[in-house]
């Protein structure tokens, strides 16, 4: 799946994962699997007032199905590579 390959390339970069329950967690992308489950390190909660308990968390595992958005680093998108991958996907399908 295109997104899986894409997120694998982002490992090590800083991302913000926004969950469907409105919690947004910023951290270093540690790993991602084929279900787009995401492991973050050095995390911090963007809205700390709402989820004070999450402050104590430094690494976490987020279930892929509860992710609404992943905010990427501006330079985290290799446009050419993405174009190419999208074309291949389209041909394959």
């Amino acid at each position: 799946m295109l997104f899986f390959s894409y997120f694998k390339d982002l490992v090590g970069q800083e991302v913000t994962v926004e969950l469907k329950n409105d919690l947004a967690i910023r951290g270093t992308l540690h790993s991602v699997d084929q279900y787009l489950n995401i492991k973050l390190e050095n995390t911090r909660v963007v809205d700390q007032d709402k989820y004070p308990h999450m402050l104590s968390v430094r690494n976490c595992f987020i279930r892929g199905s509860v992710v609404r958005y992943v905010q990427l680093p501006p330079d985290g998108v290799d446009v050419d590579l993405l174009h190419d991958a999208a074309r291949r996907e389209a041909r394959g399908g």
Partner: protein, 231 residues
């Protein structure tokens, strides 16, 4: 179909007090951690208890009250993390967030005021092992089990069939689309996942995976070999 946290009282009658698992449907016990306290939402810690981690769910059973126990499916666990900061919580623990039905009323706080605890509205659960050196191990086991429980494939996707997933190349290797779903599962490194859930539909994400594999050319041949072995 979000279930959330629920009571769990099905213990074996042999005196061991172990939970009864759905073994006929492939549920397996993955790990047992004794001496674990549990805290639901903002409620006080309940202990002592034993944590059973199965391939489907977490089960916490009280060691003293045989009628007390909680369970939550990995499907309902949105995230889990190791929490070690004493300022936010007194004991190092595994912190979990539980996916609950969205409700107009705010979470567990108002149910507490009525004195009735509605488990299905609990959004946070902490598991506090007395041996905090086990936290990282537990975290890893949680990760592993979460991956054993991908979202059920929705019907809509099944209707659109397997057609769009297959590339022309793959069709050439062994013909029929339905058969492909089988051998793709068996040769995939994550085949355990597919089998343990017994859902053929799970082959889809794995196929998509292979299409993008940079070693696609080789993978194709290997896939063919292991496919003939398995059938």
């Amino acid at each position: 179909m979000v279930v959330g946290l629920r009571d769990f009282t099905q213990r074996a009658g042999d005196g061991s007090g172990k939970p009864i698992l759905d073994e006929s449907n492939g549920e397996e016990l993955m790990h047992v951690q004794s001496s674990v306290a549990v805290a639901l939402g903002n409620r006080t810690v309940e202990s002592p208890g034993t944590l059973y981690i199965t391939s489907r769910k977490l089960i916490w059973l009280s060691d003293v009250d045989m009628a007390k126990g909680y369970a939550v499916d990995f499907l309902s666990i949105s995230l889990h993390a190791v929490s070690r900061d004493p300022e936010t919580y007194s004991s190092p623990c595994i912190y979990t967030q539980i996916d609950v039905e969205e409700d107009e009323d705010e979470d567990e706080s108002d149910t507490e005021s009525t004195g009735v605890l509605d488990l299905s509205k609990i959004r946070e659960m902490r598991l506090v092992p007395s041996d905090s050196s086990q936290l990282d191990t537990l975290f890893d086991i949680f990760c592993e089990c979460a991956e054993l429980n991908p979202e059920p494939i929705e019907e809509e996707e099944e209707e659109s069939g397997h057609n769009w997933v297959f590339s022309a190349d793959q069709m050439d290797v062994s013909g029929g689309g339905e058969e492909d779903a089988d051998w793709q599962i068996s040769q995939s490194p994550t085949s355990v996942i597919g089998h343990s859930n017994g859902e053929e539909g799970l082959a889809q994400p794995m196929l998509e995976l292979q299409i993008n594999d940079q070693r696609f050319e080789d993978a194709e041949e290997m896939a063919h070999e292991s496919g003939t072995k398995d059938h």
